[in-house]
Symmetry: D2
Subunit: 337 residues, 4 copies
């Protein structure tokens, strides 16, 4: 529906979302056969408290249709992520830890580098740095710990490289420099993402093994962080914390017009006119009307500080359990101060 | 244009804005005679760096048309407020200080209470508390200062009462308790406001002598703080720092359809259908589509932290100069650390 | 030992500590009969994880000897307060909640005001405001909650009034204004305290029903907050978070000389000379040598931010459990975000 | 006076200070000939507002006597650094900028990396990260700026690498990784230092061209950052923000005993006993008495947050002026938000 002229509008534009589940929804709408996307497998698990979707892109065609690299994308969705429900969060931490471990195989003594992407000065973009501040860091303790404790923890280092506007350096350059010096076996990168729908904000956590383009949530996409660029596997963990203002208006208008068209006959001709516009033209018109300052605007909930703190806690607990052999569900919140 | 049925839709709804200049724009659209609102005088001053509008509501009819209490509303608009332009900001500080002094007459030794309204945990709502942290507070020093210094400063106290969700107490109750105990001669209240247009965000400062309803920017309106409720005159200083998401979509859609109607004939019938909807119905439809969580969403620029800090600085400097006899333009930034 | 001439040096000086257990140690040293202080009862409870001392001052003489008002002072001491020991902290929260409830009797529907004293800009003084931010505040929800929830919570309000240097207003004046307006049945005030010994820093929590003089920890003592000044009972909860630099030097020197005297004969004559100095003279000499800026110095541990956060959590959990009928040990950390 | 047995106690211990001016005072006391240290030249400049000392260590013997590498150490001392004196600070910024430029010669287009050492979670250790947040960063803008602006700025990048306890990685390792990747021509490193005397806290700024051992102020010294380890010249800028508690007691006791010895005959024998103790023994005895937790304590002024902010501003302004060809005294505070 969105995509009227595939040659003119590159697929990567029309699927302007960081979430594989949203890319799939959009790609589905574009697909001739509504029921299936070639090269894309989808498995879902439902629980009373969350919904888990595993999207596996296994062919070049699937990758092209989805506008995303080949690999695994696991998304946990739960409205409870926005609330302060301790028991439900423990359940989610357990599921996240298991899925993080499933994405990449790593040895018990491998050194892991955890990187918190994003700008710590912009609340909804500060998720990554906040997670990093709660990771149980142990690389510097190797050799100084008693043997029985040493075997419960692997060497873990953690950095928040900042964003280019703050450092003058691409996030990828800083991480490449550190990875080359430290030689870890795996990078786990946490980043804030952008969603298309405001009801997904802070209500989904996506884990993937395909790398990450820093700054997706707030700002422009940068050099890809993946096995190709860094030489080591990358697990990316992301949460949609914002919707950009023009996308919100665009999508809301599409839905409002769709609804009105069904209700009013006079609307349908006009609706078709609107439909006949290229997606990019329409987006641009909205952005123009919103004004030059609006490209800079995002939509975020009032309680974003508290919610981002909570999400950082959940993700940090899940990572600590996933990566340290001796950290278990009994240690929740032990290292997150 | 907005208002089709005045009996059904209360004026206070259709003019959902904290800015007198926006209320005037909207009221103007509603008025039969486009050129003039009865009981409302408007004076404007233009400078290369800013635009100053003085709205004086002097009759009950003007108050009803505008949806605002009688009195003076002075708004300084400048795109430069969003930028780091030191010289321009000095010019603006001077104009603000003069206008603050013009709103209420106060004696040289009168004690003034400055109150920073809003929630310090929500960045765009933290403007008031930030200003308060930069006010030159002197009430506790009375009697301990050398005489030549004592006469350069008046007794000034400053508090940030928090918001009801944090304290369990109405802002008005806390301030009433403190005012009754301290007996100051004037309250200056600083608050974040909501605007209708995203390009007004962080680009306007409104000063008035009619009181303020705390929490206008983010959250529900509360008990009015004014001479009637507190027993002393109130100067309110506000900056629009957010637009609520549904308002943004609503206004953008109106403008986009208006533009399209002129371009396409097929659109006009549909447009009239859309127009025939009650304003409130349309708003509600948008809010429904945006989802239950959206009432909670606001639109704000990425660099909101830096901009709010800057605005707090400008306003605190202006207040310090306006209220302390011996603080002048030469003392800019001296007390704002 | 400290006190050589009771007439010259007022007892209030020589017992410069906020902790009743330290006042008792000092008073004990001053007392002729080493074994007992008249009018002061002491009970202690020992657990593997903490040490609990209940000092009950029940006569004017006891009050004079201790330099503290009549009433109950319960102190929990534990080195574990400095560590991240979740299980031990739960045990401590339980003991604190029980003891808070034992200090003042209050009805199930009484409104309670919680006040976080201290300066939020000075980390070791920010304990009170941090506790307040974690209190389950419900006063504004009365009448809006479902009945079965309503009976699990009492009306609770919470404020952080700031310090005089920030507001220009005595803490007592602000609280008096709010108490007069709100008419709560009880004030619970949390404040950072000063200790005499660096090993007590962040390792003790004192609860009392005798009121509190705000700013004891960092800064000068102010107007007493107690039943006499406010008209309602006051529970004060305090943690020693700092030692002032001159006190640290003074006490360390006393102990070092005491130790050396036992080791060296030549020292004893000199030591007696030093002993013959008035306590106040010696303190003044040290303060002079430390320099004019030193009165302003305090001694605090490096990890003070993390420790104060943790202590705020423990105390807030204990208060929430102590005051809300339906909040139990199962709700630990539920409201402290 | 301090050093009784040079063979037993390594010089590096007895001169436990980061400030060359303090090292010189101590070395002077140790020296046989009171008037001169071999291999160390000292020049001083006095102004009404500050005192400037240039220590130039030009021989191995000077380096050994001072316990510091060969090179230049320029220290600006001013009590005004603790105050909010805008005019005086402008004067100091000018002097700092000139002296930074004098320490290392660099070409107009050379890329410079600015590194803020220290732990952002510990206020007195956060100086470096705070300076970095105020540096005009331009490396990422090269090629995108208009030519006339491009020539006013050199490529500058800036990072805050964190401390080992936070990242699990030595500061030197992170910086080595980034330097190898970026290949800048110069590193400017800002760090908090430890002083011996509490009256030097926040009242001195030291600049040197000899490298820096991160974590000197709060925590253990680490791998040296200098031309040898990084391959590029290093300018280190440091401010003493803390005194460790045991050093404070030690030095105060020495001074108090020195004073008393002159006043009392009985003291002199004892004083000599105390004097006969090895410096290290005495320090250890004090540390033992202060208790195990005390090694972790530091002495810092109450208003440390405000003072560190102010110092970061002054230093950032000085660096911006020193390194960017087109940034001048007229641009003070333009980039420090």
């Amino acid at each position: 529906m969105y995509q009227t002229n595939e040659k003119k509008v590159p697929i990567s534009f029309s699927i302007r979302t960081d979430l594989a589940i949203e890319a799939r929804e959009l790609a589905q709408q574009n697909a001739q056969e509504a029921d299936q996307l070639k090269g894309v497998d989808v498995n879902t698990t439902e629980d009373s408290d969350y919904f888990l979707t595993h999207v596996h892109i296994h062919s070049e065609e699937g990758s092209r249709l989805m506008g995303k690299p080949k690999g695994d994308y696991i998304t946990l969705e739960s409205e409870k992520l926005k609330e302060n429900d301790v028991e439900c969060h423990e359940k989610i931490i357990k599921v996240l830890a298991e899925n993080i471990r499933s994405l990449v195989k790593f040895g018990e003594d491998d050194c892991i580098l955890v990187a918190g992407l994003g700008n710590w000065n912009i609340t909804p973009d500060a998720l990554g740095p906040k997670v990093v501040s709660k990771i149980l860091v142990t690389r510097h303790l190797q050799g100084t710990l008693p043997e029985e404790i040493e075997k419960t923890v692997r060497p873990v280092a953690a950095v928040s490289p900042g964003v280019m506007g703050i450092t003058g350096i691409e996030t990828g350059e800083i991480l490449k420099g550190i990875v080359d010096k430290l030689q870890p076996s795996l990078l786990i990168a946490i980043d804030a993402l952008a969603a298309r729908r405001s009801n997904r904000i802070n209500a989904a956590i996506q884990m993937s093994n395909t790398g990450v383009a820093p700054g997706a949530g707030v700002g422009n996409k940068r050099m890809m962080l993946d096995k190709e660029s860094l030489g080591i596997p990358v697990i990316a963990i992301g949460v949609p914390t914002v919707v950009d203002a023009a996308t919100l208006v665009n999508d809301t208008m599409d839905r409002i017009l769709g609804e009105m068209m069904q209700q009013t006959e006079t609307g349908s001709a006009f609706y078709q006119t609107l439909q006949s516009l290229e997606q990019e033209e329409k987006y641009q018109m909205i952005a123009d009307i919103l004004g030059p300052y609006t490209g800079n605007m995002f939509v975020t909930p009032k309680e974003v500080d508290a919610v981002v703190d909570r999400l950082a806690n959940i993700i940090a607990n899940a990572i600590n359990i996933a990566i340290h052999p001796g950290v278990t569900m009994a240690d929740i919140n032990k290292y997150v101060w």
